[in-house]
Amino acid sequence: MKGFRVQGLGILFAIFCLIFAFLYPLPYTLYPGYAADSTPSASVKAKLDILKQEIASKAAKLKSEINQKLQNKAYIGTVKTKSDEHSSTGFKTITLAVSSGLKLVTVNQDTIYETKSKRSKFSLKSLAEEDYVAALGDVDEIGTLIAKKIILQPDPTKDVTSVFWGQVISLSEKLVIKTKDLKNITVTAGDNTNFSDVKLNDFIIVTGVVNDSQILKADFIYVIPQGGFLKTKKTATPSATPASSSAKKK
């Protein structure tokens, strides 16, 4: 009986030793210690500082780019309206029709008025509707130009320069090109152009002014070295017609 008790105590002791042996390393494995010199807050703070610097640098660059876009602008177009002095700002405004639409220009006591030749006098009072002007200055966030200078321009030329691409199908004193739309355009040499470099079947780019006789007076001719090709017009295929009498509408 005593032997059994001793044996039981031994087994209990052995179990206790085993449990102790298993549990002893637990605090060292589940909860590892951190190095004192790399705390999480230190590394996060360093990263945040770097991020702040990057953001500040990018913001400064963006601001500089925006300022560049707003400075030194020129609105060129015809005067559409001229308004009286604004009660609060003291500015007068001019509406210009430019190629991209209507633009607002404000003028003040510092705005300089010039003609292109700088010989004749010009002022805001003498500015009339349909005058062709260039307003120079900086623009604000909403695109209104604060004019430092307004220059009266001569009326824009009525001659519109046309650009054509095509294949040379005839070449003599005049040349004829067939365009993408398979239309024939007759071209004459201009004051500074000739056809010496042009050969039959060449593909060319030509610019110039088309006269009343629909003849283009060339002021620039360029032979495309890699050539090109014209798409032929598609014609209706026989399958487009009814195949049999039964297909015909009765």
């Binding site: 876009k69 030194n72 602008k73 020129a74 609105y75 060129i76 430019v98 190629s99 991209s100 292109k116 260039a134 120079l136 200055g137 430092k148 200078k149 220059i151 321009q153 320069t161 650009v163 691409w165 095509g166 365009t179 993408k180 079947n201 593909f203 780019i205 610019t207 002021d219 620039f220 360029y222 495309i224 070295p225 890699q226 050539g227 090109g228 090709f229 014209l230 798409k231």
Partner: protein
């Protein structure tokens, strides 16, 4: 190594290989012709007598840059980019940029800039 070099050279050769009417188009025409002009800014005022004209279109295409003082055609590069410097006339300068596909399709962008010899 030699095979790799030949492969790269072959790709580059094909990239600049021109198309011709006789042999048919080697370079396939772009599905959609695009043109974007990054410089100069529209409605800009410059105090320099020359301006950079640059942008991008489809690869290996002629691009016409037409200004009052001069017309010039440049070829877009393999990546579609193009650039050239043009001289300006004092005052208003209308610049037209046009790219052409091998079949004659065109894309055009107009820019208006003002060249002043005097600072404001």
């Amino acid at each position: 190594m030699i095979m790799l070099t030949n492969y790269i050279l072959n790709i580059q050769y094909q990239a600049v290989r021109p198309y011709s009417l006789g042999n048919g188009p080697v370079t396939t025409a772009p599905a959609t012709l695009t043109l974007a002009v990054s410089s100069p800014d529209d409605d800009s005022l410059t105090f320099q007598s020359a301006v950079l004209v640059s942008g991008s279109t489809s690869p290996n295409l002629p691009v016409l840059i037409s200004a009052q003082s001069r017309n010039v055609v440049v070829q877009s590069k393999f990546d579609g980019s193009f650039s050239t410097v043009i001289n300006l006339e004092e005052g208003v300068n209308q610049i037209k940029i046009v790219s052409f596909s091998p079949t004659g399709d065109q894309r055009s962008v107009d820019k208006t800039i003002y060249y002043s010899k005097e600072k404001l």
